[in-house]
């Protein structure tokens, strides 16, 4: 099982997986809160139990559950394995979120960017949207490396190079 990192090189994957969870949770939190701030003036309500909103909220809970699970299990290997199982379950939610606006006809509008026709979103909104999407992905790349670095320091704390690094600080 690659995600639990039992094979060689699995340690790096495990560090990245663990490091990704808090970032994913922050981004999902922002999507929900800013979406709600947009919904109030545009839809006239902060929140409805619409399919897209609900599945996005479940995503946030999955992230929080993953972080809590990792924190609750002392042994890092066991924690990674348990986390990987939760992750496999959580992945089911991703296509549900994506297709929720097509499968259920509720308040949330249909797709405006990811569809086969030309995007129906206005080009003055499309450009900043895509730009920000790229910017957030780059931000994720930076922060995930910063966090993975801490994970590796913890794991390698008994090695010579980490001792040396700690001695210099």
């Amino acid at each position: 099982m690659i995600l639990s990192g039992s094979g060689s090189g699995g340690g790096a994957i495990r560090a990245v997986t663990t490091a990704s969870a808090p970032i994913g949770a922050s981004f999902t939190f922002l999507a929900l809160v800013t979406g709600s701030l947009w919904g109030k003036p545009m839809w006239g309500t902060w929140w409805v139990w619409d399919a897209r909103l609900t599945s996005e909220l479940i995503l946030l809970f999955l992230y929080i559950g993953f972080i809590a699970l990792q924190g609750a299990i002392e042994d890092r290997r066991t924690a990674a394995r348990a986390g990987a199982v939760l992750l496999l379950v959580g992945v089911i939610n991703i296509p549900i979120i994506h297709y929720s606006v097509e499968w259920w006809n509720t308040l949330h509008q249909g797709p405006t960017v990811t569809k086969f026709d030309a995007p129906s979103i206005d080009v003055r909104m499309l450009i900043p949207l895509l730009l920000m999407a790229v910017a957030f992905k780059l931000f994720y790349a930076v922060v995930v490396l910063m966090r993975a670095r801490c994970e590796i320091l913890q794991r390698e704390r008994n090695t010579q190079w980490v001792r040396q690094l700690a001695g210099e600080s």
């Binding site: 808090p22 970032i23 922050s26 939190f29 922002l30 809160v33 800013t34 701030l37 947009w38 109030k40 003036p41 931000f139 930076v142 922060v143 910063m146 966090r147 670095r149 801490c150 320091l153 913890q154 704390r157 980490v162 001792r163 690094l165 700690a166 001695g167 600080s169």
Partner: protein, 56 residues
Amino acid sequence: MTTAEFFHMGGYAFYVWTSYGLTLIVLLANVLSPLRQRRKILADLARRERRERKLK
């Protein structure tokens, strides 16, 4: 467009600037948290090192 008009955001100032503010806080926290964690790990390790040296 005047500066005041810009900040007014066509009447949606509260929604727009709250979104920006929250995003800024969350992004900053994401950068600061691993930096602080790294400092803490290294400080803990340095302390352990000193203690071990004293015991020897």
